[in-house]
Symmetry: C2
Subunit: 216 residues, 2 copies
DNA sequence: CGGAAGATTTAGTCGGCAATAAAATAGTTT
DNA sequence: AAACTATTTTATTGCCGACTAAATCTTCCG
């Protein structure tokens, strides 16, 4: 009785990502991330626990089991491969690929996944710079400071841009802030804004935008 | 309140295809085509009728409304574009593309659909030779006789191969029976088999196989 | 320490989509 | 016309996945 639904995959992905940050996932964090009520999250968590995909200590949060983590990573692999494929092979714009991949990831077969990965040359990064988990569950998960933490005068290369908010992503892309681009923080301005240099020309980023840019 | 689910699209597709043949769709035909019980089909038909997607005369079968037909054609367009794309761009084998497209068709956005169609050069036929409905709902729906109805001695070109049974499709593909291939019926053999010539060499097709090959 | 605030879980509903069993209807046959 | 058969419809049920409201647990603060 495998019967892992697409919604269950979404919950497992959310728990995985929260665990990266907090070590443990709380009901309300998962609920907020998925845009559902806390009661719905509790309900689904119980189902996932029943399937031995998460370990749940009531009132104390929960963590993925090895099986749950495997499924979460498979789903994330699907998602990021699809994002890269949509952007690269079909020319879908960066601020749309996340939402598109969100729906496709749950119905991607192993065969098509493999062909997409081969076509792309077995890539290890999606278009936002996030690592694509390997088939064996390996993830190269380095994390760099975001632009707000880079001292003025320092230079680097954009490693990753957050894909959590498509509107910000679009504005960053319009400014040319993409993985691989050289960037230098020139000064902090009032209003928590940042003057930066991006491959030749200067521009000003709001705090919101700067927070979503990770520099190595 | 659009709220057209993937399952509803499947029902509309089934009704559309049955209407092509019988003028009207019956509960049991739809149920058989989708592999569900007749009661389940009645249930769903009532929901579709409530949404004004089919017109239902109890005990007398049902037909698509214009809106229902539009949705059915959009879904079929998605399906056939995906089949062609999977085969052509990703090299998925012909006997797999149907099942793959079946899951993907329900989550294909207009944007990605358009990019796929453009990449393929706005095609009008899927890899089995079935017509791909245009965006405006136009379908070039010609139908030719199948091989069992071609008198011996007659020659023609394969226009279409049925995709209803993947096992037969695989055997036909292995023999080289694909749309566009020249074919000539040499003789009817005992056991309702057919000796045919296919682009140079001869082979024997069982009745099952011959029935799925349409010749123009 | 005790109680308020906040997080979490439980309880009770609802809609989508499937199933089965049983009742109703249509069509056919005698 | 009556009876039989096949089809269709009408309950009723079960699972998934969401919701609100109410109960319960933790924590934090005076």
């Amino acid at each position: 009785m495998a019967a892992i639904t697409g919604v269950m995959q979404d919950y497992l992905k959310a728990v995985y990502k929260l665990q990266r940050v907090h070590g443990v996932a709380s009901t309300s964090d998962v609920a907020a991330r998925l845009g559902v009520s806390a009661a719905s999250a509790t309900n689904m968590i119980k189902r996932l626990a029943h399937h031995r995909l998460v370990a749940h200590t009531p009132y104390r949060g929960f963590t993925l089991t090895p099986t749950g983590e495997r499924i979460a990573l498979e789903t994330i692999r699907h998602h990021r491969l699809l994002e890269l494929y949509l952007a690269q092979a079909l020319g879908v714009s960066l601020d749309h690929v996340d939402r598109e991949a969100e729906r496709l990831e749950h119905v991607l077969s192993d065969e098509v996944e493999a062909r997409i990965a081969a076509t792309l040359g077995e890539p290890t990064r999606d278009p936002h710079g996030d690592p694509i988990p390997a088939k064996d569950g390996t993830v190269r998960d380095v994390h760099y400071p975001d632009l707000t933490q880079v001292p003025p005068g320092e230079a680097g290369v954009v490693d990753r841009v957050s894909d959590r908010r498509p509107d910000l992503l679009r504005r960053l892309a319009a400014l040319g802030v993409l993985p691989g681009v050289a960037v230098c923080v020139l000064a902090r301005l009032s209003g928590r804004r940042f003057r930066v240099e991006l491959g030749g020309h200067e521009c000003v980023l709001t705090h919101d935008l700067a927070e979503g840019v990770y520099v190595r």
